[in-house]
């Protein structure tokens, strides 16, 4: 059993600043959890506190139900894979992988068979006698993983292990890690700032900002129902369009008024949760993929946009345009690959308003409403 429980865990630095603040989290045995956030948000610090490499200033940490607040890293039975890989440069690949077993006094014959097994799993057989200096980035990454695997730890803690790889290798290793998790069935905590990794790899993502864990949940749930504007923007490329507006009554309906000429109507089913905000400023959140070039459903609503640029990505085009006349706001729309519009021309686009979110314009928090259903 290697569940990991963080109970109001904090890290306070000598100057009084919080590195991590009151993090509460229960990671189930065998779960693949992603810590996601921008640099400096405290995700790596949290990981290092779980590993015991950094002291906790407050709170309680349990691994497998056992409190490990005062347990040395070597006695926690977790393995860490570092962003820099941190291989021992003076040792061969074999010795790098065997080091942890040697430290634990495992018999040489057993070490040999375990290293061979892990090397087999990761395709490192022909590299065992090489030193890390003679390996490519991808190979080093696999050695670092192998070093973690041979020890058969209760949990793997991965600190941005893919961020030094090129795009293709990263995509391959993403898949490898997911397969590995399925095969080993161990708890994995994976720290990243890459939202693709976050969306595709984990059972659950935990989004961190300024030392706090601001939202946790299954990737698609978090994507569909962001807790605030930060999550909304961070978890997508292009980020969610955040449009300052006013929420007004118009007859029986609620309308998000962007300026005197531009507005979108709130769907009836969201009337009740949103009506409390009527008559005040609001931030409307519309994802780029909820804006279309043609109206395919009658409830989609037209907006007029001045084209600033079109980024042709091959499979799709990202249109960057200005919305509104008085104080134009830049928005991005993910359109079909055949949609081109000359720069500075005006174009009509259609918004699917059902997934639209409204955020408090002061705090940035999402105005509560029933969560969007997620297909999976």
């Amino acid at each position: 059993m290697a569940s990991i429980e963080l109970d109001r865990v904090s890290k306070i630095y000598a100057n009084g600043a919080y590195g991590v603040r009151d993090v509460d989290l229960k990671i189930e045995d065998g779960e693949f959890v992603i810590f996601l956030g921008p640099s400096g948000c405290g995700k790596s610090t949290t990981l290092r506190m779980i590993a015991g490499l950094e002291s906790m200033s407050a709170g309680d940490l349990r691994i497998g139900g056992r409190s490990v607040n005062n347990v040395a890293p070597r006695d926690r039975n977790v393995a860490v894979v570092f962003q820099s890989y941190a291989l021992y440069p003076h040792m061969s690949v074999w010795h790098n992988m065997a080091f942890g077993l040697k430290m634990r006094g495992v018999a040489l014959s057993e070490i040999d068979s375990k290293v061979a097994k892990a090397a087999d799993l990761l395709g490192l057989n022909h590299l065992l006698q090489r030193k890390p200096g003679a390996l490519s980035g991808g190979q080093r990454q696999r050695v670092a993983l192998g070093r973690a695997i041979v020890r058969e730890p209760e949990a793997f803690l991965l600190d941005e292990p893919l961020s030094n790889l090129d795009a293709q290798l990263r995509a391959e290793m993403r898949l490898e890690l997911v397969k590995l998790h399925r095969r080993l069935g161990r708890t994995i905590v994976h720290v990243t700032h890459d939202q693709v990794e976050a969306m595709t790899m984990g059972d659950r993502i935990c989004i961190m900002r300024e030392g706090r864990m601001i939202q946790t949940g299954r990737p698609l749930d978090v994507y569909a129902n962001p807790a605030d504007t930060f999550v909304a923007r961070f978890l997508a490329t292009p980020p969610m369009n955040l449009i300052p507006a006013r929420l007004e009554h118009e007859g029986e309906k609620l309308v998000v008024r962007i300026d005197s000429e531009t507005s979108v109507t709130v769907p009836d089913k969201h009337y009740l949760p949103y009506v409390q905000k009527a008559g005040g400023p609001i931030t409307a959140g519309i994802r780029a993929e909820d804006i279309y070039e043609t109206r395919e459903r009658p409830d989609w609503q037209r907006i007029r946009v001045k084209v600033v640029a079109v980024e042709a990505l091959g499979a799709e085009n990202i249109l960057i345009g200005q919305l509104g006349r008085d104080k134009p706001i830049e928005i991005q729309a993910r359109l079909g690959r055949h949609v081109f519009a000359p720069v500075d021309s005006m174009i009509d686009l259609y918004v699917d308003v059902e997934p639209m979110h409204l955020f408090d314009s002061e705090t940035g928090k999402a105005v509560a409403r029933p969560p969007l259903p997620v297909g999976r």
């Binding site: 070597r74 860490v80 570092f82 021992y88």
Partner: protein, 265 residues
């Protein structure tokens, strides 16, 4: 033309630097009577070298110097490694401790030599090689600490963390990972410490006796009341420089090699 000027300047600089040792080599190989001759190479003899060993007990002093220089490095290096690592990784004592260690190097040696003499006399270690080793170790320690601190700061902390999650204690990580990686640094520091001790004169003059003198002291003794035996002094200088030239070759290699990590990225 500019290139010619550059080369001319560089050659001139080399001549200025190399001429004194080359002249010492030349003087050591000519008879004493012709040592002040203006001729470049009037005659050849090895008498100065044989005379040094036969009459001036140069062999004993040479061995003394080797024992003292090597001994002080062997004693000081482990302490310097531990102190340097403590400063580099744990910030032990903060900036003040670092500065305090460096500050000891700023004192003029003459201010330390009398207290050192008094301490050694109390311990009965004057006129002895262990006494000199002890003093040189103390003198080298701050310098070696600073050099090694720099090397240890270059070792990524991730590696120690990796070792510690792999099952090593903090000491184990230092012993099995940090020290082996820092071998070039340890070698460079050792060679520098050796050179410092080898060349040291003042403490050796005050603290050593007739049986325990080192090369610098024995060379100075060649300036007798009957005059300076310049050819013999030159021979002594050439012999004294020899290990340093060899050591410099080593240190150059190690410093250039520096810390070449394959372990990170």
């Amino acid at each position: 033309m500019r290139k010619f000027g550059l080369h001319f300047g560089l050659i001139l600089a080399c001549v200025v630097v190399l001429l004194p040792p080359l002249w010492a080599l030349r003087t050591s190989l000519v008879p004493e009577s012709m040592s002040y001759s203006t001729e470049i190479f009037p005659a050849f003899t090895l008498d100065n070298y044989t005379g040094l060993f036969a009459k001036n007990r140069f062999g004993t002093f040479y061995v003394n110097s080797l024992i003292v220089a090597l001994g002080s490095v062997i004693v000081a290096l482990p302490f310097a490694a531990c102190t340097g690592y403590a400063f580099a990784r744990f910030r032990t004592g903060g900036r003040f401790a670092r500065f305090a260690v460096l500050a000891t190097q700023m004192l003029p040696p003459v201010a330390l030599v009398l207290p050192a003499f008094a301490l050694l006399r109390g311990a009965g270690l004057t006129n002895s090689l262990p006494g000199l080793i002890l003093v040189y170790s103390a003198l080298n320690l701050p310098f070696l600490t600073w050099i090694l601190m720099g090397f240890f700061e270059g070792v990524p902390v991730d590696m120690e963390w990796a070792a510690m999650t792999d099952g090593a204690t903090a000491w184990g990580a230092f012993w099995r990972i940090v020290l082996p990686i820092s071998l070039p640094g340890l070698a460079a520091a050792g060679v520098l410490g050796f050179i410092l001790s080898w060349n040291e004169f003042l403490f050796a003059l005050v603290l050593s006796g007739p049986q325990t003198a080192t090369i610098p002291v024995s060379l100075a003794a060649l300036q007798t009341s009957n005059g300076v035996q310049i050819a013999k002094v030159s021979a002594g200088v050439v012999l004294a420089i020899l290990p340093l030239v060899i050591a410099s070759r080593f240190i150059q290699r190690f410093i250039i090699q520096g810390l070449t990590f394959g372990g990170v990225k």
